[in-house]
């Protein structure tokens, strides 16, 4: 792994993070030290965390602007995020609740496209090797060209994609080109998956995204699914494959509980709601929130 990857000992202090992103004059060194394709894989995000548990925030790229997204990625990385899920907006995000739906529409209204999300990631890569994964919908990748999308991600040192509308039966069409580029298409399991979990886990890559609840993304006061049982089904088949839980998590207590039952916690709507409310002023409050959540996950 490249020496500029944010490993344990290299994690910037909270004070450094509070001072904002790295200074511009650090960039040339960073870039020179980061040879192409020497990038962290998704699994490294778990392995490199202080306790093997990952805190994974989600944001929609381009909400409120791509410049703010760039700052958010750097700030969340400094605040302790182990892997960042970047959403490429889609016109009809069928797996999302109202909060993320609205973020998608705001980003599209700003004329955000797949190409300018990738260009923003290229700017991030001049400053940070934080593990990144794209969350979007099948048509965004399919329309761009699956091989072309994977090649561009590999070039940018990204880990792969999460596609909530590509279930196990349809995965191979995406999996093969991504695997050929050294990237992962993350598999999801849901409370309704039951006997499907073993088959899904058997050829999952990167990590398994455990959907905590029925329904769409959004903050929930309670998560009633037996997450432990879902995770142990995965571990029966793939003891070393990380599982992270998403959908409904917003408090440090929930994040810590989910991380204790699995290998990580994914938080989207709670962050996207802050961004929606605060607009361009969201960077510091989001970084503070991510720090509290990451500390909770790393303290398990």
């Amino acid at each position: 792994m490249s020496n500029c990857t944010l490993g344990d000992g290299e994690r910037p202090t909270q004070r450094a993070a509070a001072n904002g992103e790295r200074t511009r004059d650090e960039r040339p060194t960073q870039r020179a030290a980061a040879p192409r394709r020497s990038f962290p894989h998704i699994a490294d995000a778990f392995a490199n965390s202080p306790n093997g548990k990952a805190f994974i925030p989600f944001i929609t790229a381009g909400d409120p602007t791509l410049d703010v997204t760039e700052k958010l990625v750097l700030a969340m990385s400094h605040a302790g995020a182990d892997l960042i899920e970047l959403g490429i907006p889609f016109s009809d995000p069928t797996a999302e609740g109202p909060v993320i739906q609205e973020a998608n529409l705001r980003a599209l209204a700003n004329k955000v496209t797949t190409d300018n999300v990738f260009n923003m990631v290229a700017r991030v890569r001049e400053q940070s090797q934080v593990p990144l994964v794209i969350m979007t919908y099948a048509n965004v990748v399919y329309s761009y060209g699956i091989e072309r999308f994977a090649a561009r991600q590999a070039e940018l040192g990204m880990g792969g994609v999460i596609l909530p509308d590509v279930p196990h039966e349809e995965k191979e069409e995406f999996d093969e080109p991504f695997a050929a580029a050294g990237l992962d298409v993350v598999s999801l399991i849901a409370p309704t998956s039951h006997e499907r979990i073993r088959a899904i886990a058997a050829d999952a890559r990167g990590f398994v995204y455990c959907v905590s609840s029925l329904g769409v993304t959004g903050v929930r006061s309670q998560i009633t699914t037996d997450i432990g049982a879902m995770v142990s089904l995965v571990k029966e088949v793939r003891p070393d494959l990380p599982c992270a839980v998403g959908f409904g998590i917003s408090t440090p207590e929930q994040a810590a509980r989910m991380a204790s039952l699995s290998d990580g916690a994914i938080v989207g709507s709670a962050i996207v709601r802050m961004i929606g409310e605060l607009g361009e002023d969201c960077v510091e409050p989001v970084a503070d929130y991510v720090r509290r959540m990451a500390d909770a996950v790393h303290g398990v």
């Binding site: 599209l108 496209t113 099948a138 048509n139 965004v140 849901a190 309704t192 029925l214």
Partner: protein, 399 residues
């Protein structure tokens, strides 16, 4: 690779099951139940009884003598799905799915609706079978079709307005899928067209295939031969696939789907998916979709709310690829002219959707010989469209 080896429900390269994992067991259970009941004599007897004694089937195959004489070419027959209970072909699919859902132990139906026709049909079947019913409808469409909203409520259904996205049919479909992921155990998604994830395109097609099963037999009875062309309008494509299905192996029969060109296929205000769309993945299926270069689904437009959808069913996409069926685009102007023409010429007011097929018949019939025959499916009746057509013609008429 065009598709994954484990993928189910393909029509050529189209179809599949592109849905969240949360719904996978639900569609697998639906497929299993459907495979069990479709060959079950008792199920089929119950469905036939509902078709004949509730929906008013078989529908007439009517010889349009005035239209034939006026156009001066092929003999024109109209397959009168507009005479069904609730006034459209939608009831065929809904009775089938509601009966299937009931057999599966479901007590609640959810559905999307654009203009309200499928919503009304679903609410009707739910009332008949004593099931709970929730219909999702774009807020824009609720305002435009206030009468149908009241009709659904009268039938005991709850109508939920959808404000997301463009607040029209595609958003209603998305919202119904979201609701289904939220509540699966007691709920069946009664999808209204030959679209969505497998097994919906197959199930809906099989229930709508009654149209061509009847028309083929009726034509053989009336003329002693098969028609030369079968025409139907295409939005998602359920009345068209139902009209085509039993003729697919009769290679002498031209199958022609009529899409909504809106203000023209060279404008952005169109819903002609096969004429202007590109291969994509959306709402559970691979098929053709109106979309931009980055795969964002395009807002579409047609005077006809029932054809105002940015995609087309996967079996139509495959029939287009193979060349077995032809797809033409009909503008708003042409459809409105046909709406008025059929009303005056035959005393039949067609749904504005169906008027797209009538418009193409008006172009095609004069180019055919007098000993040739065409069947045009009238998917629905036009009462619902009268006020909108009056406004299109500049009259200030409101329901």
């Amino acid at each position: 690779m065009e598709q994954s080896s484990a993928s189910r429900g393909r029509f050529g390269i189209h179809g599949g099951q592109y849905i969240p994992e949360t719904l996978m067991n639900a569609v697998l259970e639906l497929e299993e139940a459907y495979n069990q009941y479709k060959e079950d004599p008792e199920f089929n007897a119950e469905l036939a009884d509902l078709f004949n004694n509730y929906a008013g089937r078989p529908s007439l195959l009517y010889f349009a003598a005035n239209m034939t004489a006026d156009l001066g070419g092929a003999k024109v027959y109209l397959k009168r799905e507009d005479l069904n209970h609730t006034g459209a072909h939608k009831i065929n699919n809904v009775l089938g799915q509601a009966l299937l859902a009931k057999k599966m132990g479901k007590t609640r139906l959810i559905a999307e609706t654009g203009a309200g026709q499928h919503g009304v049909a679903t609410a009707t079947a739910a009332a008949l079978m004593g099931m709970e019913c929730v219909v999702y409808m774009g807020r824009e469409d609720m305002e435009r079709q206030a009468l149908n909203v009241y009709r659904m409520r009268l039938l005991g259904a709850e109508v939920r307005g959808v404000d997301a996205g463009t607040a029209t049919l595609k958003d209603a479909v998305s919202e119904t899928f979201r609701e289904w992921t939220n509540r699966i155990d007691d709920t069946h998604y009664c999808l209204g067209s030959v679209m969505g994830p497998h097994p919906f395109p197959t199930i809906v097609r099989d229930f709508q295939a009654v149209i061509s099963r009847e028309s083929r037999a009726q034509m053989l009875e009336a003329e002693g031969r098969l028609p030369d062309a079968v025409l139907a309008c295409v939005g998602g494509g359920s009345n068209a696939i139902g009209s085509f299905y039993h003729y697919i192996n009769d290679k002498s029969v031209r199958l022609i789907g009529c899409e909504a060109a809106g203000r023209g296929i060279d404008t952005w205000e169109t819903a002609a998916t096969i004429s202007t769309g590109r291969l994509g993945i959306f709402h559970g299926m691979k098929s053709y979709f109106c979309q931009d270069e980055y795969g964002q689904i395009a807002p579409v437009y047609s005077i006809s709310a029932g054809l105002d959808y940015p995609g087309v069913g996967p079996e139509h996409a495959a029939l287009h690829d193979s060349g077995r069926a032809e797809y033409v685009a009909i503008t708003d102007d042409e459809a409105v002219d046909a709406f008025e023409y059929l009303s005056r010429t035959e005393g039949v007011i067609p749904a504005i959707e169906s008027a797209h097929a009538v418009a193409h018949a008006m172009k095609l019939a004069p180019t055919m010989r007098r000993d040739q025959i065409m069947v045009v499916t009238l998917s629905g009746r036009g009462d619902k469209d009268v006020a909108a057509i009056a406004r299109y013609r500049g009259e200030d008429l409101h329901e």
